[in-house]
Subunit: 724 residues, 2 copies
C-alpha cells in the first residue's frame, strides 16, 4: 500500500515507469512523487509484485501488430507491406537496369513477389511522367533488378511492393539500445484474414493472462508511420504522417470497391515525396486517408471493446503504429478509447494530445530516464525545467489529465536533485489541474490556422518527424508553439471551410508556409471563391496574418494572391522593372512595443516588397520587407517573414493578433509588460496566474482583468496566483 | 587643323564632346588626346567653327521621332502610344470605379479616346483572369474613370491605350538638368502615314542643312524603351527591353494581316509585367518582336540610305528609341548602319556593343563630364580607372573600334589630372587596338549561355534598366561580367538550339537564373527533348554549369530537372522526410585553389542539397550546398548558388569552366597565379599581355603558352606585353 507523502498536499495524475529488481525504491518513489500509476516500457517488464498495488493503476503496453513472432512466422503472406520507390536512374542506352531495392536495408525491406509485379508495380519514366508499359520491362527476381526498354537520357524509377520484415521502431530501439538475443519483431497486416482474427484472439489471451493490468496501453494499433532505413541501416525516410506502410493489394482492392476507382502505386509513392504533409493532398490521397482511418477505427474499436469486456481501460500511445488514427479525424471518436498518451516535447506536442476529445489525456514528459541524459556530471533538471516552462503555458490553456515519465526509474533514482525537481513539477501540475480544470480559460481572440489540412491535422502543421528540428519548418512551427500557450482559441481550417462560409467566431486567419506547400495552400489560391471570401472577411473587419509566403501562387500578375490584403507582394523577377518606392519603416508600431532583443525571422523570406504607400512597414532591411501591417476596409493584416519560437516572437504574435483584430484597447488586460511573463486567467473561478517562462527572475507590471497594473516579481520558472 | 601631339605616338579612334564658346580649349584638347571626332549632345550644340576641322569628323545627333515639335503638333493623332495598365482595384460591391490613369504623370501620359475604348481597351478580372465584356463597363472620359459591373472582392484592372505626349528621355534630361524655356519633345509614331513621310523628309532637310556633319548619330530610331513616370514625375516603370511604347492600333492591324491572328492588349501589358525580359516570352510576344523589328529595320534602312546619299555615315546610339533594333536580332543587319555607339559601364556593356556585326563600334566611356562627378574636391579619375580596368579586359576579347566621352568638355578641362589620365587611356586603347585587331584572341573553351532568349539577347541577360543594380540580377550578371573578359568564346543559345541539336563547338553550357524566369527557362525544362539533349551532351563529355536555380521546374519528383546532372536538388518542403546525409565538404578542390578572400554567392540560393554520395561538395554552410561539382558519364557539372562580379568569382568561373570541360591540364597556359592578373593572348601575332585588374601593385607567376612560368610585377591597373 502506498502512503501519501506527508509533505505533499496532493497525489495522483502521475504515471511512473518501473522495472524488475527495484521494488523498494519504486514504492519509495511512488510515495514521494504521489504517483498513482505504474507502467512498463518497450524493453522493461514490471515484476508481478509491482502490479496491483493498492491505489496504483498498472499500465501495460500492448503491441497488436508486432511482438507476436510465433504467430507472424505462420503467416508470411500477411506481413506488413510498403510501396517504395527506387532511386531515379538515368537511361544511357535503350536498355536500363535498376536494382530497385539497393538503397534499402535488407533486414527491413524485402521485395514482395507474391503479388504479380506486372500488375502491382509501376515503372515510370520520370522525364515524361508516363508509366512504362509492363511489357516493356522485366524482373530478375533473384537479384531484385528490373530491366527497362528505355529512351536514352530519360530518368526512370521502379515502384515496388515490399514486405516490411522487421518493425522499424523495434529495429530502432534494438539498434539504439544494442539489444542482444532479442527476436526481431515482424509486423503483420490486419487487412488480411488471419492477422485480423489473431489481433483479437491474441489480445483476449493477453487480457486473460494479465488480470493485474488496469490499463492497456496500445502501442499503437496497426500501421507504423513511415520509417524506412537505408542500406547502411540509417534512417532514409521518416515521416510521422507517412502512410506508405499502411498499403497492401488487399487494401487497394477494398478501396476500389468502396470508392469506385482504382488507386495507383503512384498515389502512394507520389514521385518519391510519399504524400508528405507538406504536399497539397490529392483527392486520391485524401480518399485513402479516409478509407484507412475508417478501417482502423472499426478494427481498433473491437480491441477496445475487448479491454472493456475484461474490465480494463484502453488507451493509445500517439506515435509508432498510429497511422489510421488521426485523432482529429472523422472516425477517431468511434474507437471508444479511454485515453491517449503521448510524448510532450513542447507546447505544441502538449496541445496535440490535450485537445484530443477523449476522457483522459496523458503526456509523457522529458527527459526520458535514459543513459544519454542520466550520466555522471550531467544535471537532467536543466532539460526538465526547459521542457516544463514550455509545456506549462500550453497546459494552462488546455490541461492534460495526467503526466508521466518513461525509461529506467533506477537510473533517475541516482539523481536526487532531479527527483526533487520533478516532485515539484508533479505538485505544480496537480495544483494547476485542480484549479483550472473546472472552467475555460480567458480568451482574447479566436484564431484560425488556414492550410490544406484544416481540423484533421490540428496542432500538427509543419511536423516532419515528431519533435525534430527541420530547416524549412522551424520558422513556421514557432507560430504553433507561440499559440499553444497564448490566451487565444485556436481553430484549424482548410480551404473548404473558407468556401463553405467562414465560422463567424473567427477573429483572425493565419496563413503561413512556403509557396506551393500544403501550409500556404498552393493552388487553393487560384480559386476565386477562396480569395474573395478571405478578402470579404478582412474587409468587413477580420484580421489576416501571413507568415513566409502566404497565399503564394503565381497567377494574374501576383505572387501573393492576397497582395491587396497584405499590402505586399514578393518579387520573383518579373516585375523588377516596376519601381518600388515604399521602403520606409514606421518609427514605431504597436506590434513591436515590447521588444527586448533583435528581431528574428528565422529562415526569412526574400524579396517581399510593399505595393502601396499605405502599407505600414515595421521592418525593412536588405532591400526587403520582413514585417508590415496593412489596413483593408475595416480589417487589417500583418505580415512577418518567419516566426521561429522565442518568447519575443510569441509577444509579437500576440500583439499582432490584438492589432489585426482591432483589440488593442483590451491588450493590457491579463497582461504583463515584460514579455517573459504571461498571464492565464480563469474568470469562471475568479483566478488568474502569472508565469515566468524564462529561467531568470523577472519583475514587471502585471495588469488584471480591468487593466489595473501592479508590480509582480517572479523567480525563474515561477508561477503565482491571484484572485480576480 | 589639328596637329599631332608630339609626345604621343598615336592619334585617332577617339570622340570628344564640345560646346559653344570653347573653341581654343577644344582644339587644345583634340590635339592633346589625339581625338579625330567631335560631337554634340542632347542639350549642347557644336558651334559652326568647330565643325569641319581637318582630320576631325563631326558627329551630329539626330532624333527621328522627337525633337520636331512643329511637325508633331500638326499630327496629334500620330503621337506615340502606350498600352498601360491601371493598378489592380479590389471590388467591394457590384460596381467598381477605376481611375485608370491616376498613377501616371499627366504631362507624359494621356488616355487615347480617338480609338474606341470598347474595341481597343481591356478590363480584366484579375482574380479569374477573364476579360470583362465591354458591355459590363463604361467610361467617364472627362475624369478618366472606368466603372465596371463587378463581382465583389475580385480584383480588376483597366488596360488603356494612351498617348505619350512627352518623350520620356527628353523629360528625364529636362527634369534632371532643370532646363528652362525648352519646348517639351512630343514623340510621334512612324507607323502612321504623315510621320512615316516626315521622318524621311525631315532628315533630308537636316542633311541638306548640315553639310559639315560627317556622321549622323541616330538617337535612336522610332520606339523608346519603356520609361514611364508616376504621378509624382518619378520613374514608375523602366525596362530597357520594354516594347510597351512601340504599340498602336495601326501596328496591331498590320500584325493581324501578317500573322493571321489578332494581338490582345494583354499580349503587351502581360498582367502588368509588360513582357519583362525575365518573363519566359510568349509566342505572341516573340511574334510581335519579330514584327516590329522587321518594320523598324525597313524604315530605318531608308534613313540610313538617305545619309549615304548625302555622303554621310549613319550610326546608331544603342539606347533610348532602340526598340525594334535588337542588334543581335534577325533584321538588324539589313538597316545598313555604319556603326553603333553606346555607353560602356563595364565589360558586359562593352561586349554588348563591340560584338555587334557592324563596320564600326564605339563606346562612350564613364564618367560623363557632368557636375555630379566634376565638382571641386572630387577626383573623377577614380571612376574612370575603375571603369577602364573593367572595360579593358572585355576590350581585349573583342575591341571596340573607337571610344569617346560625353558631357561638358569645359567642365572636364578644369581637372588636369583627369585629362592626363584619359590621355593615357586613349593611348593605351589605341595601342591595344593596333596590336590585337588583326587576330582572334586565344580561346580556352567555348561557353554557351542557355536561356529563353538565346542569340537575340547576346550579352543582355539579367539587364533591367541598363547599367543599374538590381537585387535579383547582380548575382547573375556577374557571370556575364566575368565572361566578358575571359579567354573563352561565348555563345548565347535558346531551348530551340538545344532541341535542334547543340552546336558541336560548345564545350560548356551555362544555365543561370531564378526559377521560372526566362534565364533559368521555366517550362522549357518540362520538355523531355531539352532534358535528354542536355544530359546526352554532358554524358558524352560536355560541361554544365548551373548558377542559382538552374533547370528549375517542379515536376516528376524534381525541382532541378537536371538534378541528375548537377548531383543536387533544391528542397522546397516536399522531401524534408527524406534524410540528407551528403553534407561533407571536399578538403580542397581544383576550382577553389586560388582564393584570396571569403566566398561570395550574392543573394544565395537556399536549401540546395546533394542527392548523391558522389557529388563533390565544395562549400556547405547553413545546412545548404552553395558550390559543388558532379561527374556525369564522361562529363562534369559545376553548381554555384550565385556569382556576383568580383575578380575572385571571375577566377572561380574560369577554373570551373576548365574543370567541367576537362581542360585542367591546359589551365596554366596564358595564366597568372594571382587572380587579380589576367592574360590575354594573340597567337596569330605572337603576343600576349598581362593585365592587372586591381588598383594595387601585384607580383605573380605568369605562365606562357607552354605553361612556362616567370615572375611578373605590374602596377595597379597596369598592362604589359610579351612576345610568345
Amino acid at each position: 500500500m502506498i502512503k501519501d507523502n506527508k509533505e505533499k498536499k496532493t497525489r495522483g495524475r502521475l504515471t511512473l515507469p518501473s522495472e524488475e529488481n527495484f521494488y523498494d525504491e519504486t514504492i519509495e518513489m511512488l510515495e514521494r512523487l504521489g504517483a498513482d500509476a505504474i507502467r512498463d516500457s518497450d524493453g522493461t517488464h514490471l515484476p508481478d509484485d509491482l502490479k496491483g498495488l493498492e491505489g496504483v493503476d498498472t499500465y501495460t503496453a500492448y503491441f497488436p501488430a508486432r511482438g507476436h513472432n510465433e504467430f507472424a512466422k505462420e503467416v508470411p503472406f500477411e506481413w506488413s507491406r510498403y510501396y517504395l520507390m527506387s532511386s531515379f536512374v538515368t537511361a544511357t542506352s535503350e536498355q536500363t537496369s535498376i536494382a530497385f531495392s539497393e538503397d534499402y536495408y535488407p533486414e527491413q525491406i524485402q521485395a514482395d513477389y507474391d503479388y504479380d509485379p506486372k500488375e502491382w508495380w509501376e515503372v515510370i519514366d520520370r522525364t515524361t511522367g508516363e508509366v512504362v508499359a509492363p511489357s516493356d520491362w522485366e524482373i530478375d527476381k533473384e537479384n531484385d533488378v528490373v530491366t527497362i526498354k528505355s529512351v536514352p537520357f530519360h530518368e526512370y524509377s521502379v515502384t515496388f511492393l515490399a514486405y516490411g520484415v522487421w518493425d522499424p521502431v523495434h529495429m530502432y530501439n534494438y539498434i539504439t539500445n544494442d539489444w542482444k538475443n532479442v527476436d526481431k519483431d515482424i509486423p503483420y497486416d490486419v487487412r488480411y484474414p488471419k492477422s485480423s482474427e489473431y489481433v483479437e484472439r491474441g489480445l483476449e489471451e493477453f487480457l486473460k493472462e494479465n488480470p493485474k493490468t488496469d490499463v492497456v496501453r496500445f502501442t499503437t494499433f496497426f500501421y507504423q508511420f513511415s520509417l524506412i532505413f537505408n542500406k547502411h541501416g540509417l534512417e532514409k525516410h521518416v515521416d510521422w504522417f507517412g502512410y506508405t506502410n499502411s498499403i497492401s493489394p488487399e487494401a487497394m482492392i477494398a478501396f476500389e470497391k468502396e470508392y469506385g476507382y482504382k488507386l495507383r502505386p503512384e498515389d502512394i509513392v507520389d514521385q518519391g515525396y510519399y504524400n508528405s504533409t507538406f504536399r497539397v493532398p490529392s483527392k486520391e490521397f485524401l480518399d485513402y486517408i479516409d478509407f484507412q482511418s475508417r478501417f482502423v477505427a472499426q478494427k481498433a474499436k473491437k480491441l477496445v471493446d475487448l479491454c472493456h469486456k475484461y474490465g480494463k481501460k484502453a488507451i493509445m500511445f500517439l506515435g509508432d503504429h498510429w497511422i489510421g488514427t488521426e485523432p482529429y479525424g472523422k472516425y477517431f471518436k468511434e474507437i471508444g478509447l479511454d485515453g491517449v498518451v503521448g510524448s510532450v516535447g513542447d507546447g505544441v506536442t502538449l496541445r496535440l494530445i490535450s485537445d484530443i476529445d477523449v476522457p483522459m489525456t496523458e503526456g509523457r514528459f522529458l527527459p526520458y530516464f535514459f543513459p544519454d541524459t542520466f550520466y555522471e556530471g550531467n544535471d537532467p533538471s536543466i532539460e526538465a525545467k526547459d521542457n516544463w516552462v514550455k509545456a506549462r503555458r500550453a497546459l494552462l490553456r488546455k490541461p492534460l489529465d495526467r503526466i508521466g515519465y518513461g525509461g529506467y526509474l533506477s537510473l533517475a533514482y541516482k539523481f536526487p536533485d532531479f527527483i526533487d525537481y520533478i516532485t515539484e513539477v508533479a505538485d505544480e501540475f496537480r495544483d494547476i489541474y485542480g484549479k483550472i480544470s473546472a472552467g475555460k480559460p480567458h480568451t482574447s481572440a479566436t484564431v484560425a490556422i488556414l492550410n490544406s489540412w484544416g481540423k484533421m491535422r490540428t496542432w500538427a502543421p509543419y511536423i516532419v518527424a515528431h519533435g525534430k528540428w527541420y530547416k524549412l519548418s522551424y520558422s513556421y512551427i514557432g507560430i504553433m508553439e507561440a499559440l499553444s500557450g497564448m490566451d487565444v482559441d485556436v481553430k484549424f481550417i482548410n480551404f473548404d471551410d473558407v468556401k463553405n462560409g467562414l465560422d463567424p467566431s473567427i477573429d483572425v486567419i493565419i496563413n503561413a508556409g512556403d509557396a506551393y506547400t500544403s501550409f500556404s495552400g498552393g493552388e487553393a489560391f487560384s480559386d476565386p471563391e477562396v480569395l474573395s471570401n478571405i478578402r470579404k472577411f478582412v474587409y468587413e473587419g477580420g484580421g489576416f496574418i501571413g507568415i513566409g509566403e502566404p497565399s503564394a501562387y503565381q497567377a494574374n500578375g501576383r505572387f501573393f494572391q492576397l497582395a491587396d490584403v497584405l499590402g505586399l507582394d514578393k518579387e520573383i523577377g518579373y516585375s523588377q522593372s516596376n519601381n518600388k518606392y515604399h521602403t520606409t519603416q514606421e518609427e514605431s508600431h504597436f506590434i513591436t512595443e515590447d521588444l527586448i532583443e533583435d528581431l528574428d525571422f528565422g529562415e526569412m523570406t526574400p524579396n517581399v516588397y510593399s505595393i502601396s504607400e499605405d502599407t505600414k512597414i515595421i521592418e525593412f532591411s536588405n532591400h526587403e520587407v520582413h514585417m508590415a501591417t496593412n489596413d483593408y476596409g475595416k480589417g487589417r493584416s500583418f505580415y512577418m517573414a518567419g516566426l521561429p519560437y522565442s518568447t519575443q516572437n510569441t509577444r509579437i504574435l500576440k500583439r499582432a493578433i490584438s492589432y489585426v483584430a482591432h483589440k488593442e484597447d483590451d491588450l493590457k488586460k491579463y497582461y504583463a509588460d515584460d514579455l517573459r511573463l504571461e498571464v492565464a486567467a480563469y474568470p469562471e473561478i475568479g483566478k488568474y496566474c502569472v508565469i515566468n517562462n524564462s529561467l531568470e527572475e523577472v519583475s514587471s507590471l502585471v495588469y488584471d482583468k480591468d487593466g489595473k497594473a501592479s508590480k509582480v516579481s517572479l523567480p525563474g520558472g515561477g508561477i503565482i496566483w491571484f484572485e480576480g
